[in-house]
Amino acid sequence: MTSLYHWIFFLLSVALLPVLVLGTIRKTKARLQNRIGPPLWQPFYDLVKLAHKGETLSLTMCGVFRLSSIVVFADILVLAWLTPWLCFKPWAPEANIFMLVYLFALARMFTLLGSLDSGSAFGAFSASREATLGLLVEPAVLLALVALGIFFGSSDLRVIFSLSSVSTFVSSAIWIAAGLAIFFSSLVELSRMPVDDPTTHLELTMIHEAMILEASGRNLALIEFAHALKMCILFGLASQCFLRAIPQFSTFNIYAQAGLNIAGLLGLAMFVGLLESLTVKLQWRKVPEFIAYILSLSLIASFTAIGIGAIK
């Protein structure tokens, strides 16, 4: 019976949380600009509107363009099932760290293929940028997760996030460092503010938005929803890491854990809104430096984990 509830809550949050997170970011930005802003559910209405629109396809496209959005959507759904971004999750098979990272890479690869297939200059331009960013940010994400893996002695994320281990000062430090690394690299991965401005009107500087420039109608709705769900997964993973740093977290009951989890997710979304209102976009040449700072957080986390392992 509990597993049924888990399934219901899980499916509901997969359907609703992406919309809510996007809405929260937009609302925060609007409030900081002294606007009332669109309602929280506006992304949902946008998706519905997009789903009813007709689709325009360029003559140069082959089947890859249509295929890519479907593959990305399916891939992100599988990731949502495997990644421990929520406390209440139905049964899932082993979630290996390396498999997860490369499933994210698979989604990225198909987005790239789709944008190259569209034949537009902007698509190719942003695809090259996205590939560069992906190359740079992958070691940071991987090292952050591997640090957790070393500390808990398993490469299975179910074991790492199982709440069974005792909490010490050092484990809290590792959780926070890894959470920060995952959060900041998710900003790169989702091409959000310090790296790329998703709301700019200039296609020349955009990364993700320029890649999906040629998509329209249902295709665009699918891509937008997959992107929002990916944001949810990554922010959820980061907020889970931060919550694990609280020593008493494993003693809370399941409702408190779930509530804190969702509050943490929305809190990170609000923080992103704040970041996008207050900071300016980094120069393209400065982005590798930003990623290098993230990498140093992961390095700290993994060295601490290795050190603690050596003492034990």
């Binding site: 990498l295 140093s296 700290i300 603690i308």
Partner: protein
């Protein structure tokens, strides 16, 4: 394996110093130095509580006031006077230098593992590692910077490292020695500040990379 409050303070100070290598902005460096030194003051205070002595508390307050408030204030004033905001950086880019600093931080744990800690000291290994790491970081800071003012920051970080090493490897130094060291640092900073202004006046820059060239007047 338990970790004492002193060790936490020392390791935080070492990590903050590692972050110093990652930024070329002089003011950011000053803030990080100030925070790192505050951690060292806290380490002094907690270690005094562990040994249940009251003398070092006085030293801790003195370090907090002098090294983490007065010296950064002095350099902040010097930065305004010299009209420099950021270092130019030499040889390696700051993020890579920071990775090197973190690697050295990890290396210092291996290096100090075999150091025999004296009888009665509770912060042997981690304290020594933090101290050695601070010395490495200071050296790295001096190697990868071009402005004379950053060289002084590197020197100050090394001085912090030596102090931490002495603090954690002994059962407390005499009060008079600690005060002497503090006075030395203060005088050193003042003299180096004077030198900075002198270099600025005669060369119209404080770039040490260009100081090797001969100049005719």
């Amino acid at each position: 394996m338990t970790i004492t409050a002193t060790e936490i303070c020392v390791l935080t100070a070492a990590l903050l110093a590692c972050l110093m290598v990652g930024s070329l902005h002089l003011r950011v460096n000053l803030w990080l130095y100030s925070l790192s030194t505050l951690c060292i003051a806290a380490a002094t205070a907690t270690s005094a509580l562990e040994h249940s002595e009251m003398g070092p508390i006085f030293i801790a307050i003195l370090i907090a006031l002098l090294k983490s408030v007065a010296i950064p204030k002095f350099f902040s004033w010097a930065i305004d006077k010299l009209h420099v905001q950021r270092d130019l950086g030499a040889m390696v880019t700051p993020p890579l230098a920071m990775h090197a600093a973190i690697l050295l931080f990890a290396l210092s744990f291996i290096l100090t593992k075999e150091i025999p800690s004296p009888a009665g000291s509770v912060n042997g290994w981690f304290g020594a590692a933090g101290g050695i790491s601070l010395v490495f970081t200071g050296l790295l800071l001096m190697l990868t910077r071009r402005l004379a003012i950053s060289q002084i920051f590197g020197f100050l970080v090394i001085e912090n490292g030596i102090y931490i090493f002495a603090l954690t490897q002994t059962n407390g130094m005499p009060l008079i020695v600690e005060m002497g060291v503090l006075l030395d640092v203060l005088v050193g900073v003042m003299v180096s500040g004077l030198l900075l202004f002198k270099i600025q006046k005669s060369f119209e820059h404080i770039d040490v990379a260009q100081l090797t060239q001969l100049k005719e007047y």
